[in-house]
Amino acid sequence: MNYGIVSQEQLEQIDVVLSEKLIKLGVDCVIIIDMAGNIITVKDNRENKYDVYSFAALAAGNFATVDAMAKLVGEQEFSLLFHKGQDSNIHFSKIDDDLLLISMFGKEISLGFLRLNVVEVIDQIRKIWDKK
């Protein structure tokens, strides 16, 4: 069994990246979870409050299911996982084998724009995480 321990410094750096690159852009809530469904960090715009613990458990399950389906049809992974609603949308992105970045955003942001920023965020988070 390996244990995920993250330093205060790393978490603060990650939070800054999330705030600067996603929350300022207009994303409602960003959550980083591990594949077991644990929450690593949450950043939101202080307007929308979600039950993030249940959300993380469901999101990890959802992502794992889609990943297993990908393997069944011979894909390495389905890299884009996106749920579209009337007012809000959810975008999932894999950071590495253990971590997942989830963004919840409204209709004022386009998916393409969000994805561009998510790619940049993930790149920066990987660098911070690797220092562990």
Partner: protein
């Protein structure tokens, strides 16, 4: 994998209730959800079929209070018990820290318990975990059925079938009436937390 947040001083621990179909895993969580409402800050999540069988998992986050200044958040999960759902059972086991094996004490379920335990062993191996090392508690459920004249396996048989090699703590229980549900939960939480502490020291 439990996750430890040093900034917010939170430890998240994953406990999974495992066992054959209709053995009472969801009933355990439902009882905990009703009895410890004060320590539970959100609704229980249940992903089930129209026929009320667990399809993916049930999820119940449970606040245990503080140990050495750290908030311990226990995340309780169940797996789907039906034989055909092994792929999803495996997904739920990812990153598990402690397991409650719920066995169905009804005489006619004897074989199903053994098969389910064997599969748990295999599933853990696929994550490079060992059933002999991970914190585990046995719960022999449905002992209330003796009062209704339904044949139940004697404790000695259940112990021989399921726990002769594992030698883990066990409880006779009745999830529907709540008998020993809390005792099982307390035991698995303490075993899991102790094992995490040991690994960290």
């Amino acid at each position: 994998m439990s996750f430890i947040n040093l900034r917010e001083k939170v430890v998240q621990v994953k406990v999974v209730y495992y066992g054959p179909g209709r053995c009472g895993k969801t009933t355990n969580l439902e009882f905990i959800n009703r009895t410890y409402r004060k320590q539970i800050h959100s609704e229980m999540v249940s992903l089930k079929t129209h026929g009320d069988r667990t399809l993916f998992f049930d999820f119940l986050p449970f606040d245990m209070g503080k140990i050495k200044g750290y908030d311990i958040k226990i995340q309780l999960y169940t797996v789907p018990g039906q034989v055909k759902y092994n792929a999803t059972r495996k997904l739920v086991l990812r990153g598990v820290d402690g397991i409650v094996f719920v066995a169905d004490a009804m005489e006619k379920q004897r074989e199903k318990n053994i098969r389910s335990l064997n599969q748990l062993h295999e599933n853990l191996q696929s994550y490079k975990e060992s059933i002999f090392k991970i914190p585990l508690v046995m719960q022999y459920n449905k002992f209330d059925l003796t009062e209704h004249g339904i044949p139940v396996l004697p404790l000695s048989v259940l112990e021989k079938d399921l726990n002769s090699r594992l030698q883990v703590p066990y409880f006779k229980a009745s999830a529907i009436t709540g008998y020993n549900v809390a005792a099982t939960l307390k035991k698995i939480i303490s075993s899991t937390v102790i094992s995490i502490q040991k690994k960290l020291l």
